[in-house]
Symmetry: C2
Subunit: 473 residues, 2 copies
């Protein structure tokens, strides 16, 4: 099975494409640019949803569902927004056997269809805030499928909130980014740089966009989610207005924020190794695989007892009882699928009432007794989760460079890439030229960035802030 | 609030349309035929998903996700299937700014797109069975929106399984219908008649369709979900074939089964009354509303203590602390929203350390002490769940008639309607004529129906089985 898969360090993109198929995460769809989320891949998304729904609902944000189709005139009401999404739209022109009078756009994002409803729902300050999230599919046209990372249709959540004051909206964009940071650090075990987008990289229709930028093993950045302060850019054209406590008409202040199945692409890239996936336990559909070394009835009985003990403690566990695969093949298979912990049970274990634990992250073996087995295993899973995060943090640190010389900047972007921290004067022309010459774009400006006296990496004019630059997926 | 809503018994359809809006379940979308699931309505769907996912996963069926877009040629590969869905398709003709070479159909159901993948995944009997379910949106063109009951886009689950033998597939269609029956009886508190569809009413592409037919207060039947034995009708054109244990090539046997957000329409219709919704506790987003009779700090403190006690016991509970609505208004509001149990707390309750429980189903009040309050409330919620089901069972029984005279049949269909049990010879012509003359269609033939010697209600020729007839939504 594994011999066909190239090494991660040798050909990352071939490794990625093959791992996605071989680990049963996904397959290609019939239409161009589409993909199928196979059960193992979809189960990761279900775990992400479960974790995030808890955080989102605890904040008082409620889930809802808005229509898939947006009348073209509605999408066109905020001009920058429409312009930004125009090149990637899928358009329904026929419905019920008839040519439609107005074309319907398959949602690329739902600001317009949702805010049309908000304008009906909001009359008084008493109707605010509105705190809504939706989990759904969206479509942005792509010709080539890069599973999870770039597909015409993807799954995501999009939060859409409206407030009486700008301060509340701003606080929400920060809350959303903090929620995403927790999600990435604690569940995905993926660190990243949080910060503000430059004007050119801001979401079409937003005043400010916050982003979480993670580093992939290619040295490229993955924009892993975003949180937008929409100001009154939508509330004005959509007339989301309300009477305030003084009886004056005001426009609402809005936010939107999203995280998509693209994140699963990041998960695969960051943690995988030459043996296949390495899933952090928090997002592993199977956390523990029990592997009987012989399919002997006593060993199987022992395995099933272990299964019950772990299953009762809500550890996601499976036994591999297949009789048509050899043990070596099974070991490879579960390593390929990235299961964090393998539990081997043979005659030795049966005799001594022990089990052999093999950690996927390090390959280390440990023989442990059965006393408080679930507790022991939870501790090991926790260590694996932390170790994967620590490895990714190291990689991020080791591949972030402060650079103040443009020739070094170019050299780095021609070589190992990574995040380059460099002064930028804020002039969009410099940003454009840097992109043209190095493929690197501004990724973000961290909120804690201090004003300094520097020189723009490109034009050498005065520059106050150091931005993160990287090539992006 | 309520004075604008017509009585359920006087104008059912106006009552329905207004209740849906007034209870904050849904709103109309911008495009024709579409609806918005507002948070309160969507929360019901989330509860349905939670209950059903447990049952589905316990059976070993895994969730996955397949593409929204189906290339037209793929949908056209099973001819009856294509013909059946043709009139209600939404068609994407433009993608990424260009006219598409092949039109893409927005999935009306996913047999074809899923089975195209199965044909790749299945080679050997070892690859079977395939047990997959997906939760998604589907589109079947509608000009007029009837919220939940009839909308262009709706949400559903669709199970798709493939086996080496017909017996396994048949067993699965029965399992799915048993799972739906449990869901309807125990969670929706809606009884129904389970049975086989006539040829004319069978799903396009299926050999046999099983259905769950519930009775609405209009006297009309609601087809509440279906489970199809697809035979080899799809595996042949899609070439889902495998080598069996003897090395012979065989085609797979398949099933599909679905339940949609239409079910929420049934929930509203069956249990609602002139005061609004009456939600069965298992599907109530809020099971208990705590209503402070005065917004006095000691009463509020007491309410918050009660909240903690119930919340800890996983009862879905809220306190209504709004200061801009009077108590009478709040009572109406929560009755309208169908919350099963209201917990009133005033000075009397504070003094005597009691709470007053008001059941939504009967309006009965009871004053109870705080000892084991969560346990007491769970008992009451359980009673409400059972009572709503018992009421619906009675209604179904009282509106099911055995009829062997066609003039009586016609009279009943012109009057109160309901389910009519009558002999039918099986000739599609009789079925067509009955529909033309009475609007009633065959709903189903129960699996336990016995062979009898009867005469067809229409043509008077020999007939062996009594079918359920009704007008349908």
């Amino acid at each position: 099975m594994k011999k066909f898969i190239p090494k991660k360090s040798v050909n990352l993109s071939a490794w990625y494409n093959q791992i996605v198929l071989a680990a049963d995460l996904a397959d290609y769809g019939s239409a161009k640019g589409t993909m199928i989320f196979k059960p193992y891949g979809y189960a990761i998304w279900e775990l992400i949803q479960e974790h995030m729904n808890k955080l989102i609902k605890a904040k008082g944000v409620e889930n809802a569902y808005f229509p898939l189709f947006i009348p073209e005139s509605l999408l066109n009401r905020e001009k920058k927004h429409f312009k930004g999404f125009s090149p990637e739209l899928a358009v329904v022109t026929i419905g019920g056997g008839k040519e439609l009078k107005e074309r319907l756009i398959v949602r690329p994002t739902s600001e317009t269809i949702i805010y049309q409803a908000y304008s009906k729902w909001v009359q008084s300050y008493r109707d605010l805030p509105i705190l809504i999230n939706q989990w759904c599919n969206v479509v942005r046209w792509e010709k080539r499928t890069y599973p999870f990372l770039r597909t015409s249709e993807f799954l995501w959540q999009e939060g859409h909130t409206a407030y009486a004051t700008h301060a509340e909206a701003r606080a929400m964009t920060k809350w959303a980014m903090a929620m995403y940071t927790k999600t990435y650090e604690e569940y995905f075990a993926i660190p990243g740089y949080v910060g503000k987008k430059s004007r050119a990289e801001t979401f079409p229709g937003a005043d400010t966009s916050l982003t979480y930028e993670a580093l992939m093993p290619s040295g490229k950045a993955l924009q892993s989610c975003t949180s937008h302060d929409l100001g009154q850019n939508f509330s004005q054209p959509f007339n989301i207005s309300f009477l305030d406590q003084q009886g004056k008409t005001q426009f609402a202040w809005q936010t939107s924020w999203g995280l998509s199945t693209r994140s699963i692409g990041g998960l695969i890239l960051v943690h995988g190794d030459d043996q296949g996936l390495r899933l952090p336990p928090e997002l592993a559909p199977v956390q523990v695989i029990i592997l009987p070394i012989k399919l002997d009835s006593k060993i199987l009985e022992f395995c099933r007892d272990l299964f019950s003990v772990l299953d009762q403690e809500k550890i996601r566990v499976k036994i591999d009882e297949r009789d048509d695969e050899r043990v070596g093949y099974k070991i490879n298979k579960w390593e390929l699928k990235g299961v964090p912990l393998r539990l081997e049970v043979g005659e030795q274990e049966l005799k001594t009432k022990t089990v052999t634990l093999v950690s996927r992250d390090t390959g280390k073996k440990a023989v442990v007794g059965l006393n408080n087995l679930a507790g022991q295993i939870k501790t090991v899973l926790d260590q694996i989760q932390k170790n994967l995060f620590a490895q990714a943090v190291n990689y991020l640190k080791n591949n972030t460079y402060e650079i103040n010389d443009y020739s070094l900047f170019k050299k780095q972007m021609n070589g190992d890439k990574g995040f380059l921290k460099a002064f930028w004067c804020g002039n969009p022309k410099c940003e454009t030229m840097i992109k043209a010459e190095t493929k690197a774009t501004t990724r973000c400006l961290p909120p804690a960035a201090k004003k300094e006296k520097g020189k723009c990496i490109y034009c050498q004019k005065a520059a106050e802030y150091q931005w993160y630059f990287a090539q992006a997926y």
